[in-house]
Symmetry: C2
Subunit: 150 residues, 2 copies
């Protein structure tokens, strides 16, 4: 019998938003991510490009690396990634290679999001949903960029 | 006065091939990369996806992270990346974010290379060349995949 899913997608996106808020507090562009298997978070991460001085330190990349470490597997078909902002091309490429089972993202990113290059940057096996708690994500991003300007 | 470039692009690609050969010896898909500023290598890396159990551990990603660490800067406009195989979408995304000055890649990768998605995955400021020592790179890759099959 498959294990019952005890929490909603919204519940996990709230956890991703918690990560985004940590990024915000630390002066990073506020994007957060969690990786979930069944009813359990196996990895969580937030954008750390400033702290690590590294453009590759996006929340999704850090979360995928941590999830692979937790599971001892390069491939993550049983995993669900919840991320507060649409992944960029780099992160979509990582999601492709990891063959993530599901990608749930919050706010769209029309300028830098992967989907403007066509959805086929992702693996055909990866199920995608978007829009979950997007207003919360967008407000956090707007607050961050307003702070930067002031 | 600008510092004279004492070595050719081919010289640096030979250094990237050395990295690819280390990958080969370690049972990794043989791809190698170096990052050069003027006459100096500031970062070198080879594909370590097996050893690190991490799909994000491509040579280019590791090299960019190391180069940013060496220079203390997220952005690498003065850097030249030499990599033995055409970067994938993930790595092209990282090269985009880092605003690499130059990308030189050896063998084309028609299946997984970024350029099938259009060259605009890269930053407009990044100069690109390809084909340098491509036969050496391709032979190494073929030997690796022949070994796998036998």
């Amino acid at each position: 019998m498959d294990e019952l899913q005890l929490y909603s997608d919204e519940y996990w996106m709230q956890e991703a938003l918690k990560q985004a808020r940590i990024a915000f507090e630390e002066g990073e562009i506020p994007v957060g991510a969690v990786v979930v298997v069944k009813n359990r978070i196996i990895a969580k991460a937030y954008n750390q490009t400033e702290k690590l001085t590294d453009v590759t330190a996006h929340a999704e990349i850090l979360a995928i690396t941590a999830a692979s470490n937790a599971l001892g597997s390069k491939y993550l078909p049983e995993c669900r990634l919840y991320v507060t902002l649409e992944p960029c091309v780099m992160c979509a490429g990582a999601i492709y290679w990891a063959q993530l089972g599901e990608l749930h993202y919050g706010a769209a990113d029309p300028k830098r999001g992967f989907s403007r290059n066509g959805p086929d940057l992702l693996h055909p096996k990866t199920k995608v949903s978007n829009g979950l708690l997007q207003d919360n994500s967008r407000k956090l991003l707007q607050a961050f960029f307003n702070n930067l300007r002031n």
